[in-house]
Symmetry: D2
Subunit: 344 residues, 4 copies
């Protein structure tokens, strides 16, 4: 019998509506490299959702690729990017940012978040240092929404980060790999139009939010990155059959599917959280989106591991193990029911 | 009414068998980053097709990305790659190779091909130059099969290139973006096992050969590139949902689909060629695979353009235009019939 | 007995006035990284010589380093640099430009020069190509004065190149590794103020023109490259003891030494040329500056090689060898006299 | 009246013996790029001093350049370099390491040093992480001797670091920008032969130890970096007039000058330290080599600053300032005497 699988939000294929759309459009000829009508339709819907009719919108294949390509385009010569020391670009992307010549400057996180105070403190000290011209300039701030810990930036926190960016000439970039699950959270107060107002660039994640693959980059200020198309090509990030991404995002932004699937996944995560709390388990930190982090005793970990696929998260001490369970667009009520049976 | 579309071999979606497989496997959980059972199955089938049971096989998203990532991995410090001056990496990939620090050294082509003599001539002169340590070393040879002109390397030509590579310490890399249409050509004498025997690395193209997207890199000598997984990640070329590529290549290598669709597309191209020749048109160079190159008088070009989507290829002189028509897995006999009516 | 040495213009140490200045200033404390008074004085004199009181002036160590650092700063993302196919950056700098991610686009030379027509032809065709966004943009034009063949751009030729640059949004960069010998040539009509008017950046060569080492970059439009100091550091091109370069350029630009030594070296080269022509030897191409290129029969080459150090240049055919003899600031009348005896 | 200048060990020109040697050899012709007899002689003497007759020895211009070029050559794909978070490459070289695509991984320092325990802890945890193939591999360890805080690695500490490197497949690289002052310290127990035995590569600093400029890289295992010459060229680190570096290192390694000038500078530093301690000042940390670090009250700082050039080091709290005073080969007993008068 197959174990229950809560290991991540990308263990399944795609939302059925996406597969359907791919099938229905399959034999319609389309031009390449994102110049097709499907991409154009998706762009329009995304711009509308962001209340940003002028935004440049680009489609890429994956998260690391998107972070690398956008940050390389946003950063000037001798500039690095600030991030929380838990930020995905810092440790878990194989040095993809440094590969393009830019330093990742990691600052201590708070619940997985980079605070405006930390960013400001760094930038202020940097420019106060009389030798700063011998150092890497802070050129951008990287945040993820939700964060790697499933936590959320509030509107106030993001606005404060943007103010710091404006003061010190930095760009604000937001990694929305799991953005649907932020937008779908009952604790969230940051909308797509807010992101379009506050970020120089951000991406709307598809891979972890119902698509087979794909991320949609939004650059609210049209023309901010005038060579971005060619930069995508140069980074190997420009799909020949751009339609594959266009059709998917067009579907995700039709009839509010993107947010709806986020809401449902967060509902499931809330139920999962409730199950574990009711059964006496402890959370590593409070769930805010679609991910539940548990702090297990090692024997609990062993027992649960036999029945449930989870993600090992970290080993905080000799007798405990932290794990992550993720709900997704594909998590059914029955899965939660089965989990209930498994942990009782 | 929509025009007949022969602009390229990637104007449609995917082969129906692929869409079917994606649907059927959609709700089966799978681990990420190419570690899943679909990828493993596809790898086995590809190894078997190549008679190379030990080969490393990796799945990437697109051609430029694959060329960039594999060449960067094959090349040592201060090494560049030789290619025909018609080679895709030289002019049409936005400097993706140079972006990773490696020079592309273009040599005069012959029917779109790099001859062993040209490669050897360059390497010999290079090492004869007493100042060669001030220059970029030739570290690899890039060829495409079929070439950008739809032509084919013969087994003899590839073997000769490999001998030159061995003599001068270069790696032989083959770009198989349209490999199905080489394998499916009546003029081809190079099999997958031949490629596995002669190349240090090559890729089996999916994007232009029936997949939604995806390319399968084959490295016949297991462990030749020990960090390739991490290099894929660092280049932004590692898909989280690797299953999307695994399922597709598993389908393409089940029951000979990959070669079969190549054969059929080449059949269609042959019919298209015959139509044009019968109607008195001239070829730019003789068709060898799925692409037909025509040398049109400008007024012919204008007339045809109204009914048919073709690719502008080049302007050889003031009164002529060269164009390309491509057949693909998705070109039906009816399309050829319609073309016949259109050009009569 | 030591052979007469005309192998290059950097076989000796430094002009005696430079050694003297280094000794005299040796125990004066100075701040680091080019912030010292010697550099400041040299900058003022260079600006005055260029009639460009606002120019940014930077000191680097060598030619390849300077080309790499300046071009990397001038070029935007996805931009490459045009040059004659004889240009030093194309073949003889070990891919230093590509190492920073930029393609070198070599065009056919004419007497070692890139013509405005060739540059314009390329740029025009580039923007006319509907796929140009898939290609490397031409971002700069590289020329050397004198060229690798010792030839000179006329004022008219440089002005035409600048017009092409302005039309197509390219930067004009001039490599002046041997600039003293251009400025000192009787055939030259391009002055330092002309260069400052026509180039976006150029460098005044020290290494081959009397200094122990060092090149002075002039950026006529102040602030054009606002991060250049940090870029120098990042490229490893910022000397801690910047004074070493400052003292030398201060000396070279005191009392017209730089041009004077150029004039004298060109005089010697003219005498060398005359000797060879009188003795019945053939020139590969007519001498214009401090370098004499001879087209020797192989037995002449062997005979001369026993007495004279020359630079092998190329093997134009099976029975001839082309060589280069260079005069420099350090070539004495006695050396020419001795050469006369040697070739008679 | 000029202030006493103890700001750094590179405020003066060169040791008189070096200027003399440059003058004496000035008119002797020499071949370029380090192939000359002066470089060869210097290499022999350095190999002898290191008891390493087979070592490869290369001459470069400056410290950042050397760190960048050697680390880029030592590191494989996807590899980064570990260093103490006080390491020069981490913060003060403008991202020169990242510029070549490699991540700098900073670990907490202890007195300016990276401990073997810290390096081992990182490497062990790295390989224990099941996701480590998604991360930057630790490929080398960077240490400086003396450190940026003037402290010294003991032989035991270096040997322990090498053991960790061997266990985890890392290269040990030592930055000897101020190596003369380590070798000349009464507290040092690490000799040049020790370094040649323990390091995969290290450099003997010239710029801060009596030369006008220049650093000598020693690679004890001949052929470890077979393309290093070309890599120097590609990094813009290969001087045309290599003789300038050869003559200087030949002088520094004749009659023990290099170590002798180190001993004398450390003597002066000891006297400076004694003066300040006697006058009631506090050290930031105990002097070990040629640099004295003081922890001053702000009003002390202001008072001293009027008479003495020092380096501002850091602001540990609101009322104190840390400063650095450096002695060098050029610090005379009279300078110390004058300092004594100044601080009384």
């Amino acid at each position: 019998m197959q174990k229950l699988n809560f290991a991540s939000d990308y263990v399944l294929g795609a939302h059925p509506a996406i597969l359907r759309a791919l099938s229905e459009t399959n034999m319609e000829p389309a031009s390449g490299y994102g110049t097709d009508a499907f991409c154009e339709s998706a762009r329009k819907k995304i711009r509308a959702s962001c209340c940003c009719p002028e935004a440049d919108v680009w489609f890429l294949s994956g998260g690391t690729q998107t972070n690398q390509t956008v940050l390389d385009a946003l950063l000037g010569p001798c500039e690095g990017v600030l991030c929380a020391d838990t930020g995905h670009i810092g440790g878990h992307e194989a040095g993809a940012i440094e590969f393009t010549g830019h330093k990742v400057i990691a600052l201590p996180h708070k619940n997985g978040k980079l605070t405006a105070a930390a960013a400001e403190g760094f930038a202020k000290a940097f420019y106060a240092d009389e030798n700063h011209e011998h150092m890497v300039f802070p050129g951008a701030v990287y945040v993820s929404q939700p964060t790697e810990y499933g936590t959320l930036y509030s509107l106030r926190e993001l606005a404060a980060l943007r103010r710091v960016c404006d003061t010190y000439g930095m760009k604000l970039y937001l990694d929305g790999a799991r953005l649907a699950y932020a937008l779908g959270s009952e604790l969230n107060d940051v909308t797509l139009p807010d992101l379009a107002r506050l970020c120089h660039a951000f991406y709307i994640g598809g891979t972890k939010c119902g698509a087979l693959l794909g991320e949609a980059v939004v650059i609210p200020q049209k023309g901010l990155l005038p060579r971005f198309f060619t930069q995508m090509k140069q980074h190997g990030a420009l799909l020949a059959k751009g339609r594959v991404l266009g059709v998917q995002f067009d579907t995700l932004f039709t009839d509010g599917l993107y947010i709806r699937l986020g809401v449902e996944a967060v509902e499931r995560a809330k139920e999962i959280q409730a199950l574990f709390l009711a059964a006496g388990y402890r959370e590593l930190l409070p769930r805010e989106t679609n991910q539940v982090f548990l702090l297990l005793e090692d024997r609990q970990y062993e027992a649960l591991s036999e029945k449930i696929e989870m993600s090992f998260w970290e080993k905080p001490d000799d007798t405990h193990t932290a794990v992550r369970l993720a709900a997704s667009w594909g998590t059914a009520k029955e899965d939660v029911e089965a989990l209930k049976n498994a942990i009782e």
